[in-house]
Amino acid sequence: MSAQVPAPTPVPAPAHSRRWRLWPVLAVVGVVALVAGLLSFGLGRDPTAIKSPLVGKPAPAFSLRTLDGRSAVNLADLRGQVVIVNFWASWCTECRVEHDALAAAWQRYRDAGVVLVGVDFQDTRADALAYMDQAAMTWPAVEDPGSRTALAYGVYGIPETFFIGPDGQIAAKDVGPVSFARIAARVDRLLPRGAG
């Protein structure tokens, strides 16, 4: 039987076998590159810098009572003016950080057709009024029952400040404490020329 067996000859590897070994490697390299690319893109971004979909859109309407209960602020009545809507609370330490900047901006722009409205967020009226008294907050502050206005403005965490132009559209949004320079830059761009 062994006589019939042909002499052993080296068998060359088929040409396609090398390609077979190459494509899984290429696939793995491709997937790794894709994941690394996505990670470097995602991790490179500041997760707190959430772009509001409301910028460039009409500001959600609101009509809210002031915390002292004496009057109300209706956004529709402020059409034609620059409106700064600042979400704050008495328990919010970052809001204390930006308080002086807001106070300076209110002082500087209140006679130039700019309205600053503080919307109290997740707070009690007593605490909010005590904070206003202690911090000498002179701009109108309103309460937001059920956080309906905060939800309409897509508030994540306070302080958040929205800048509404005379056309009633949201021009910009700032998350975290704002500086006077930031407010001034935003407001100056929105005010009609010659004002302010």
Binding site: S2, V5, P6, P8, T9, V11, P24, A27, I50, K51, S52, P53, L54, K57, P60, Q122, G146, S147, R148, A150, L151, A152, Y153, G154, V155, Y156, G157
Partner: protein, 167 residues
């Protein structure tokens, strides 16, 4: 493994069944609380980390649930309510990516990876089965050279063993 058709059919039937269940989803809840929970569970709590509005104990999540309940009472559909939250918070408020635009990638890529995995598994099994059949009973016709060489080697070694250790 000469006929991949049964395997292909099995794969298609399995994928079809999974797809059907995924598309049909769970039974539609009836009570208002259930309907609120149904919508809230598709929304991300904005002030939490990876919690749905349904699961979050945060006051803002509670207020979102109240808003959903009021909107449902006002006759708004779940899609309209979700669209309102998306208008305020952006699409990141949705726990599942939208099935359009860039969000489609999250739906399509796993399916493609599954298909690729199945194809790779099928190929490996096929090649493995092809390898096994060579070692099986010899078919008629010329034998492969490598196998012949192995057989010769085996016979020689067996003969040597017989010589060394006669039973």
């Amino acid at each position: 493994m000469r006929r991949p058709l049964p395997w292909l059919l099995l794969g298609l039937v399995t994928a079809g069944a999974i797809g059907l269940i995924a598309l049909r989803g769970p039974a539609r809840p009836q009570s208002t609380a259930d309907r609120v929970h149904d919508i809230a569970s598709t929304l991300r709590c904005p002030v939490c980390r990876d919690l749905s509005v349904a699961d979050s104990p945060a006051p803002l999540a509670q207020q979102m649930r109240d808003t959903i309940a009021k909107d449902l009472a006002a006759g708004r559909t779940p899609d309209q309510i979700r669209a309102e939250f998306v208008a305020s918070y952006g699409e990141s408020v949705l726990l599942s990516p939208p099935r359009k635009g860039i969000g489609l990638v999250a739906w399509v890529v796993p399916a493609l990876l599954l298909a690729a995995g199945l194809a790779i598994a099928l190929t490996i099994v096929r090649r493995w089965r092809a390898g096994v059949s060579v070692a099986g009973p010899p078919a008629d016709g010329p034998r492969p050279a490598v196998r012949a060489a192995d057989r010769k080697l085996l016979e020689r070694e067996l003969a040597r063993l017989d010589e060394e250790e006669p039973l």
